[in-house]
């Protein structure tokens, strides 16, 4: 029997119940260690749903993917280079404003995203109401409300994962518009970036990172054997916005 294993990445801010969800999905079928060469905990687990095998990676909890701490680099590199079949962004329903920062960053990187609003029970207690359908419409990806602690919403989440793997869900992640001067620079960089990375990486996102002067991403890309990338880097560094 040939088994196809699908990879799921779990991203989210610290204290959003990401690991509760991870434990719930994998039970004891998990192991932890460190990411190669980093003192950042790597946790992966396995589960089966509707005859499909899944490997799920619990990424480090971060507020962002751009501040370039070891945690954030691990999470960023996994999403960009390992290209998980689905990335689940876990949000804290009681602090959506803060949590959506990371969600928007992930949506710029990949369109295979499911947003999972956790701690719905907590939000209810605090009198916070969340219009899930509207959120899904605005973000352009499925949004599933859950309470990992009470094991609520997990079936819907698993079904959504299954549908996305089968290609039954078309997503259209929100495209964040930037100021005119930045958009003009993106437009100039895009063809060059596309020429070099092709469809391998999200070109608009790479252009944005270059404009931001993200040297850590450049280093990571070079390690992935993109020698020609230096060309674009040189171009970008001549044109990069001083402060965005």
């Amino acid at each position: 029997m040939t088994t196809n294993e699908y990879t799921i990445a779990l991203a989210g801010n610290p204290n959003t119940g990401k690991s509760t969800l991870f434990n719930l999905l994998t039970g004891l079928r998990q192991h932890t260690g460190n990411w190669p060469g980093k003192t950042v905990v790597h946790a992966e687990g396995f589960f089966t749903y509707k005859d499909k095998q899944y490997k799920i990676i619990d990424l480090p909890g971060t507020y962002s993917l751009y501040s370039n701490s070891a945690d954030e680099e691990v999470a960023r590199d996994f999403i960009i280079f390992e290209k998980p079949d689905v990335t689940i962004v876990v949000l804290d329903a009681t602090a959506l404003e803060r949590n959506l920062n990371l969600a928007l960053q992930v949506l710029e990187m990949t369109n295979r995203v499911i947003v999972c609003v956790n701690l719905m029970d907590e939000a209810k207690k605090k009198g916070i109401r969340i219009d899930i359908a509207k959120l899904a419409k605005k973000l352009g990806v499925p949004v599933v409300p859950i309470s990992a602690r009470n094991e609520e919403g997990i079936d819907e989440l698993l079904d959504t994962i299954d549908l996305m793997i089968r290609g039954a869900i078309q997503t259209k992640p929100i495209v964040i518009p930037y100021s005119r001067s930045i958009e003009e620079k993106i437009a100039k960089l895009l063809p060059l970036v596309k020429e070099i990375v092709g469809d391998k990486y999200p070109a608009r996102w790479i252009a944005l990172r270059l404009l931001d002067g993200d040297t850590s991403l450049l280093d990571a890309l070079k390690q992935e054997n993109h020698h020609s990338f230096k060309e674009v880097a040189r171009y970008a560094s001549n044109r990069s916005a001083k402060s965005v």
Binding site: Y63, S64, S67, N68, T94, A95, E97, R98, N101, S243
Partner: protein, 85 residues
């Protein structure tokens, strides 16, 4: 805009609220502060100072974050005293 018109976040006392106007910080630290919620237009509450006066804890969009004076003295905005209301 000249930052001198504004107060520094580091000047705000525990219990006060503060509306952020501008971050006079560059690079990854600026990025980090923005990611943590210290965004222009947003209101933070000063919770308490540590025993030696630094760092200070702030409430920012529902989470407690402590900053050192190095950072908080470069965050400019408006102190909102309760007697202003």
């Amino acid at each position: 805009m000249a930052p001198t018109k504004f107060d520094r976040l580091s000047e705000a006392e525990p219990g006060e609220r503060f509306r952020i106007e501008k971050l006079d910080i560059e690079g990854t630290m600026k990025r980090r502060l923005l990611d943590l919620g210290f965004v222009p237009g947003c209101e933070v509450t000063v919770l308490q100072k540590s025993p030696l006066g630094d760092p200070t804890a702030y409430k920012v969009s529902n989470t407690t974050i402590a900053l050192r004076i190095e950072e908080s003295s470069n965050i400019y905005g408006e102190r909102i005293r309760d007697d202003n209301e």
